[in-house]
């Protein structure tokens, strides 16, 4: 099964098995990864599962839709490779990537 490494702000890494077809958020939630709050459960409306992808992986994905792109403009610590992990669907191409979890998620 493809794996993804979640890197915390302090540098610690956790390896997560992500079945193909699952979102990164779903697997991170299942394994209780710190910093992936995912309050809306995958609706791309709360902006609390923000991660930074490696550049090569980011470019393999389609562009974020309007709503996700708008949320990514207001999340803390945005970067050019920011995505909501609930919108990143696992494929073999993304296997073994390292995604960075920000220190803070969007909060009302």
């Amino acid at each position: 099964m493809p794996e993804v490494f979640f890197v915390q702000p302090d540098g610690t890494e956790q390896c997560v098995d992500v079945p193909a077809g699952w979102s990164l958020m779903e697997a991170a939630r299942r394994d209780g990864i710190d910093g992936i709050v995912a309050e809306c459960g995958g609706g791309a409306i709360c902006g609390t599962c923000h991660v930074h992808l490696p550049e090569d992986c980011y470019s393999k994905l389609g562009a974020p839709d309007f709503t996700e792109a708008a949320l990514l403009e207001i999340v803390p610590e945005p970067s050019p490779t920011s995505r909501l992990s609930c919108q990143v669907i696992m494929t073999d191409e993304l296997a073994s990537m390292r995604v960075r979890v920000p220190a803070e998620q969007l909060n009302l």
């Binding site: 299942r30 309050e39 459960g41």
Partner: protein, 401 residues
């Protein structure tokens, strides 16, 4: 009748109920550094799962039960959270701080968190084959395979759940009629603008919506069910979804002598009237300063919030900073977000703003922003939500047409 005790255990925290609230409470205790024993009793056999998809993605068949798990079994083990499935608490003894399950397990506790949730409200005479509700994983999995090929589905109750399920069913090809006994969809909890616009979308999708319509009687028929409306009309359906609200599971607390009034009554720290016993989530009723009265709030966000508040009280850490309750729904592919509580007994001054993909309604009461609704506008939602409680009613130029 007393359940015979077959084995006993002692725990620092006993959490009764393992849905969003119970699981989050256990989790937050560990995150706060709480090192004591945590036992999470779960009446259900399946691993704790997310509820919102039960009327959406799971019902649509676009996800599976495995993907709904809140945490994996290994994750509970890693955090030393003892999750015991298939354990229904039969009796709670508040004075002696013990609980006993139907399976004969007696648990002595220092702290107890009641997170028993709510169950679907039933209609007498409307049960058995062809009658459905959606509250549990099994409920959703029972209805899902039937939603195809022109199934005639009656949805009784036009609240969030009924409209979400109607939306999902219509998309799968079911012929859907929603019967709502009041004049308002979504229980009058949203503005007239949002209710009317979503209703129009449902109608465009082929859903028939009957508001202000009572049902005089239900008859089981060979094909399914037959409803007689108040005006004498008859409606036949192969399946009926009863979505007329939820009833809090407070029986355990009531029998233990804990104060209940449409929910276990709790204070701002989620403490019940019994020492060492807390209540959180759908089964808890706490004072809402916005409304000036106690109220139960059924939403995932509230369940998580109260779980964190109770965990902080138990662990002796600082509670999370208060924030307005939020809700969300998905209907006809549109995402509705709501924050704050508008008092349904008071008039609302609604201000509508069109956005790039949807709309935003700011709801003012007594000159203050009481609630915000947004459809497909999460950024506008976030920004407006931060202003809840503030005055400054915008100029009448932006009045809802």
């Amino acid at each position: 009748m007393d359940t015979p005790v077959q084995r006993t255990m002692q725990t620092d925290v006993l959490i009764i109920g393992a849905s969003h609230a119970g699981v989050e409470c256990a989790w937050t205790l560990r995150q706060a550094g709480f090192a004591g024993r945590i036992v999470l009793l779960d009446a259900q056999a399946a691993a704790p799962y997310q509820r919102p998809p039960l009327s959406k993605a799971l019902l649509a068949g676009s996800t599976d039960a495995q993907r709904l798990a809140l945490r994996s079994v290994e994750t509970y083990q890693k955090q030393s959270i003892e999750h015991l499935p298939d354990h229904t608490v039969a009796r709670l003894d508040a004075g002696n701080r013990t609980a006993i399950t139907q399976q004969g397990l007696q648990v002595r506790f220092t702290h107890c968190v009641i997170a028993t949730g709510a169950r679907a409200r039933c209609l007498p005479g409307l049960n058995g084959a062809g009658a459905y509700s959606i509250r549990t994983l099994d409920d959703s999995l029972a209805l899902q395979p039937r939603l195809a090929d022109g199934l005639r589905l009656l949805v009784l109750g036009g609240g969030y759940l009924g409209l979400e399920a109607a939306s999902t069913a219509a998309k799968l090809g079911a012929r859907v009629t929603v019967i709502e006994q009041t004049g308002c969809l979504m229980g009058g909890k949203v503005s007239a603008t949002t209710a009317a616009r979503l209703e129009a979308l449902h109608r465009q999708a082929g859903i028939e919506i009957l508001r202000d319509t009572g049902v005089q009687g239900w008859e089981s028929a060979p094909h399914g069910w037959s409803a007689t409306l108040a005006d004498g009309r008859r409606l036949d359906a192969e399946a009926v979804l009863v979505s007329i609200g939820a009833v809090p599971n407070t029986e355990l607390a009531e029998q233990a002598g804990i104060r209940c009034a449409d929910g276990v009554v709790v204070d701002a720290s989620c403490r019940s009237s019994a020492d060492g016993i807390y209540a959180i989530g759908d089964c808890a009723s706490s004072h809402r300063p916005e409304l000036g009265r106690p109220c139960r709030i059924e939403s995932v966000q509230n369940a998580l919030e109260q779980a964190r508040i109770a965990a902080a009280a138990i662990a002796g850490t600082a509670p999370p900073s208060p924030r307005p309750p939020t809700f969300w729904s998905e209907q006809q592919g549109r995402r509705l977000q709501i924050a704050g509580l508008a008092d349904p007994r008071q008039p609302c001054d609604d201000r509508l703003t069109e956005t790039a993909k949807g709309w935003l309604v700011e709801r003012y009461q007594a000159g203050r922003l009481a609630a915000v609704e947004a459809v497909d506008s999460p950024v506008e939602f976030m920004q407006a939500t931060k202003r809840i409680g503030a005055g400054d009613v915008p100029a009448p130029a932006t009045l809802t047409p």
